[in-house]
């Protein structure tokens, strides 16, 4: 099965990584 070209898969992976890091940074901050 032909999934998708490598740059596209790399794009998907880096998007997920960026979102995960952002949510981690945002959510571990205190509210006050």
């Amino acid at each position: 099965m032909f999934l998708a070209p490598t740059p596209y898969l790399a794009l998907l992976a880096s998007m997920i990584l960026m979102l995960a890091i952002t949510f981690f940074v945002i959510l571990r901050r205190s509210d006050d």
Binding site: P5, S14, M18
Partner: protein
């Protein structure tokens, strides 16, 4: 018939919401009295205001011309800048609240103690946003033309009336809630387009049918440097466009901003991936002959995909999604453009004018700006992307530098703020006319503007620390 019914329902919801959310005070009209409690509303409205019809039509169609580098760079930069924007957002909210700022020029004026800088920025916003508005009105009018089978001028008129009503009645609260609904339609429309292309191309098999020249990352169709520059200058807007920042100002507390920072990047990631991929995926579904006319005019490509692949009725949803993309951006821009004129420039010249007078002016002038830019949209150049990318890039760049340093560096001064503005604006305009076309003018603007800001700040006396209001590290 179904198109007309859809539009009537759509307009009825917009009018009902505007009346329900009508505003009577200046603070209510421009920042919703900082009382918005729903993170999803702010997050999705931010997304809808950012993505205009240029993204839906131009961004979707540009993949046809520029191929894979456009898909990868545009999506990557949008997600990256959206993430950065929402990491900075709580700090921006805190600064706006502590300075009691209701507009972006006002926020920067108070941060730097620079009324001159405020008026200069307001002037740049007024000119550049009007250019941008003309481009979006043009796209919007074409969409109404396609949806209702009316003429371009009639389409313009429909767009003007709808936006003018909800802008003038409801101000920012109406813009927020209507943009929230429009944002959901936009993301839905983008996902439908993406899915229908994949389905018609045989699932992931679609990639095997796309020509190698299109999926090459070396930019066989358009030099990759140009594509990176365009993607950068468009997505920079996420970090600093005043029409987006104003939505952060409207949050009730930091918790709302924090959770809006979850909704928005997810919506931006889904929308960007789907919409920017359309141009290349189409190569796996349509023949080169079918696509040839759209290489010359990529803006009509997305409506073509919708009408040829979707059953009747569903294509109207796609057009409505594109109309939503246009109107959510227009309304937010009209608000910040108008306040740059009334609350920033007029207040500077005549400080004694009371708030209720400014509110009346903000309503009237806003409607005038809508009418004037629609009038100018009767006759504008064909391709939307380059025009939009430069005008919004200029504003984003002018705000980004003083905002970023203003948030994280105490040493920035009024002289730095003003020099940064002048250098950014002048270098972008000059590079656009005389510079190397492979390097995007906005990239030059970021470098020259930052250098001027830093040099002038360091060359002048540090600001009086007693005047500075600390916004705290993420607090």
């Amino acid at each position: 018939m179904i198109n007309q019914v859809l539009l009537v329902v759509y307009v009825a919801v917009i009018v009902a919401l505007s009346i329900k959310l009508r505003q009577g005070t200046f603070s209510g009209f421009v920042v919703s009295d900082r009382n918005v409690m729903y993170p999803a509303v702010i997050g999705i409205a931010f997304t809808a205001a950012y993505f205009s019809a240029a993204s839906f039509l131009g961004g979707g169609g540009y993949g046809l011309i520029a191929g894979f580098p456009w898909v990868i760079w545009a999506t990557l930069m949008h997600v990256a800048f959206a993430c950065l924007a929402w990491i900075m957002a709580p700090r921006i909210w805190a600064m706006a609240k502590s300075y009691d700022a209701k507009t972006i020029p006002q926020l920067l004026e108070r941060r730097y103690g620079s009324p001159g800088g405020r008026v200069l920025l307001a002037g740049i916003m007024l000119v550049m946003y009007t250019v941008y508005l003309i481009a979006i009105f043009k796209g919007c009018a074409h969409l109404f033309e396609g949806l209702l089978g009316i003429s371009y001028i009639q389409g313009l008129l429909v767009a003007v009336v709808i936006v003018a009503i909800y802008y003038a009645v409801g101000g920012l609260p109406a813009i927020l809630w209507i943009s929230f609904i429009q944002g959901i339609i936009m993301v839905g429309g983008a996902v439908i387009l993406y899915a229908v292309l994949l389905y018609n191309g045989g699932g992931t098999e679609i990639w095997a049918n796309i020509p190698a020249a299109v999926t090459s990352m070396s930019g066989d169709l358009v030099p990759w440097q140009k594509t990176v520059g365009t993607a950068f200058s468009i997505s920079l807007g996420l970090l600093a466009l005043p029409d987006l920042l104003i939505m952060i100002f409207s949050a009730k507390d930091k918790r709302v901003v924090k959770f809006a920072g979850i909704y928005s990047p997810i919506a931006i990631a889904i929308y960007a991936l789907c919409i920017f991929s359309i141009g290349i995926l189409a190569y796996g579904v349509f023949s080169a002959e079918e696509l040839a006319p759209f290489i010359k005019n990529p803006d009509s490509f997305v409506p073509f995909v919708a009408t040829s692949l979707l059953p009747p009725g569903f294509d109207a949803i796609i057009l409505l999604a594109a109309i939503s993309a246009a109107m959510s951006t227009i309304s937010a821009i009209v608000l910040v453009t108008t306040t740059s004129l009334t609350a920033d420039t007029l207040r500077f010249l005549r400080p004694e004018i009371p708030d209720d007078r400014i509110l009346v002016l903000t309503r009237v002038v806003g409607v005038l700006i809508i009418a004037v830019s629609a009038l100018m949209a009767r006759n504008v150049p064909e391709l939307i992307v380059p025009l939009v990318s430069l005008s919004m890039g200029v504003i984003a760049c002018c705000v980004f530098i003083p905002l970023l340093f203003g948030l994280y560096w105490d040493r920035g001064t009024s002289a730095g703020f003003v020099s940064g503005l002048v250098a950014t604006f002048a270098s972008i305009v000059a590079w656009n006319f005389y510079g190397n076309p492979l390097i995007h003018p906005v990239m030059v603007g970021v470098v020259v503007g930052t250098a001027a800001y830093l040099a002038a700040s360091l060359a002048t006396k540090p600001p009086d620390s007693a005047q500075m209001i600390s916004v705290g590290g993420g607090k």
